[in-house]
Symmetry: C3
Subunit: 327 residues, 3 copies
Amino acid sequence: MRRVLLDRSVLLMRGLKGDTAAIGNVCPHRFASLSEGRFERDLVECPYHGLRFDMSGQCVHNPHGDGRITERARVASYPLVERHGALWIWLGDIMAADPARIPDLCLLETTDPTDRAPGYLLTKANYQLLSDNILDLSHADFIHPATLGTGGEIAGTKARARLEGDIVTVEWAFTGKGMAMERSLRDGAEVDSRFEVTWYPAGVMILRNDVGPVGEGEPAAKRAGVHIMTPETSRTTHYFFENADAGRRKKLALALDVFEREDGVVLEEVQRNMGDSDFWDMEPLILSSDSGAILARRVLQRLIRRERARSATASHPPQKARLSQPF
Amino acid sequence: MRRVLLDRSVLLMRGLKGDTAAIGNVCPHRFASLSEGRFERDLVECPYHGLRFDMSGQCVHNPHGDGRITERARVASYPLVERHGALWIWLGDIMAADPARIPDLCLLETTDPTDRAPGYLLTKANYQLLSDNILDLSHADFIHPATLGTGGEIAGTKARARLEGDIVTVEWAFTGKGMAMERSLRDGAEVDSRFEVTWYPAGVMILRNDVGPVGEGEPAAKRAGVHIMTPETSRTTHYFFENADAGRRKKLALALDVFEREDGVVLEEVQRNMGDSDFWDMEPLILSSDSGAILARRVLQRLIRRERARSATASHPPQKARLSQPF
Amino acid sequence: MRRVLLDRSVLLMRGLKGDTAAIGNVCPHRFASLSEGRFERDLVECPYHGLRFDMSGQCVHNPHGDGRITERARVASYPLVERHGALWIWLGDIMAADPARIPDLCLLETTDPTDRAPGYLLTKANYQLLSDNILDLSHADFIHPATLGTGGEIAGTKARARLEGDIVTVEWAFTGKGMAMERSLRDGAEVDSRFEVTWYPAGVMILRNDVGPVGEGEPAAKRAGVHIMTPETSRTTHYFFENADAGRRKKLALALDVFEREDGVVLEEVQRNMGDSDFWDMEPLILSSDSGAILARRVLQRLIRRERARSATASHPPQKARLSQPF
């Protein structure tokens, strides 16, 4: 399977024993895409002239002339870890790959695996714009008035954002009628609502929502979902999401519909309005609801600078900064 | 209503009392398009996070946290005048906006307003190429041989062009069989024909056509139409046009059909052949029929230079020159 | 008829006496495409303002005003030769045009002309990538396993490439079961096969294939075909091809189908993977099967350098190198 990640064409493979690997997808001979060739017995064959590569990216078969294989006959191999039902790839300096930085998403494994229903959308907007969207839930009051919106209750609540290490948490707690789509179930009675988004670099978020009787402290319903933004290019994003609680399949349909028809339309319009301009160069007006998103953008900026500095020190050619990215 | 004018996204509004206004269409907070939000009671609400702006571009409602509104919470406001059934906008230095420079198009108001039938086409060619087309009517003999063309009579007549202030007038007067589509009505008899195009910067033209018995001086039929070219981008143009005399609706259908199938096809091909090259850099061959178009291009060049110089003097950052543009 | 050749829009004409000519397709007056106008009695009329040009590119009729024709009223004229059922154009320095460099394709004229069946495909890949494809026939074993492929026999045979002047010949000779689509006809018996590709600059190839009983020397079947690659732009190619032996029409259908569904798909993917990168800058891995293609690329590089040097000496403005190109 081929995926473009950070502008690079990457080939993802699953071997006979279930092991996974990620290698460069462009054949070093005549630049055909390996993903268009056959994958058999853990070897991929280039569709153009039949060179075969193993899952480490090494050429192991040359059907031409005397069949010699030179040292250069290989493609890049990328560190890859399978965890929480996702593959996590590192496209930066191989020495800096650190699986310990993969966020803990065990909450996805608490229900029957056959019930898991992950969603995916390719969105024509930068991955930071998609993270901003989740980190400022007040948008729901305006973009999703009939479903996830609270009629201004989230927007009117001051968001509390905090930073621990490289992790940003933003929280809204209020008493009110709650989400529009649940109001009829309660005959309009008020509840205590709490929303919390935890963001991990470069674009993984856990969104928790607790609802309970007013003043009781202990929520009657706890819900959670995971949102992962992986850059395809600087202007397009692989958006992966999954609810973590029971009834996932039904919720998936709602999430797909709501995001595609509502958030996606706005975010792609924002990207068109921004063009290739830098976010900060456009001097955005900052509102109180932006606190979480701004913290996350600053963490990312710091990590990108640090990685660039490290590359420079190591006498590497300067390159586009890359951060741990799931896909 | 949103329109892109001179590469800028502009929001046009009509208030409860019928007043009109034009403001920047991109929200200063997260760059969503205000035109995609609700417009109620003279306020537009951003579809993403619900900021509301009045018709002067000022933010008057912030639904987030304590609702504070800072001085920067506003979008640009553009001078706008409604006249002759059109809205006239000025996107340049606000001090230089001058409604007196809007051309007099009273001729559009001489017939029953319910009969008015304005035409509109978005054309993939620079606005000056569209003005050139009207300013050199000889093209009709070749592009519209079966309708507006005169079988070479206009082309064979020397165009007389003159400049008064910033206004260019070009005129053709000849005795002959006239326009192809009217010949059968006269059984082929000759008539005196007069065509006159008056051009106002940056792209407004009145086209008059008088036809009368040979040698009588007083025309039996007087017709007029207005053609307005407003740049959307450097390679696309909003083309507005309207006939000024009775029977407009029928004529509109002909004009739409003729322009779209004939002029538009040629002009978009010219734009493709030119690419992003400057007109003068391509060293065009000049014919006698070009006199009006060349005069108009020189006026425009002078006005653009003057406006650039003024901006420079005023210590403004250098910017793309902008001229009074209707839309 | 209009063709874009080496990024230039060219008008091809056939006169009343059957003579052919190639001139610039963009009118020097207002840059309309002459190909969209009428062509009558060996004159082409510009569709926009009616200037008429003869087959040498000279304007001979100006319907405007006094009808004067200035010296500049002309478009470029390109040397053109009709030979072997094709038109051969030279877009470079006119003094360097040399019809003697047109390859001898008399083999196309050995059968009944009514049986000739030339094929054409516009392919979204650089012309050198298309030549590389023919010059390394080993690709057939992988791209065309069910038809032209030999199940690894060509790939396993060392290609012998040689250079004579500017002409490259590459040859494969082996004993085996031959092409997949012919095996059933021989009940799987082995044959002696010989494939030979002769390449002429900038992209003309003759592909010969002889098959005969093992060890007899004299082939029972001799086949040949011509493949011509003419650049449209740096990333698109006019691909012309024709079989030279009997039964051409049937073979044409196979060739069109095989190229479009198999080679074309791979080559366009290669072009996308390369983007605008230079072939050598991408440091391709070289296999033994590349010998012919590499020789041809070196000849081309040498000819382009020589033509550039000649242009520089002649005090011409530096321009994109152009080589004799059929179309």
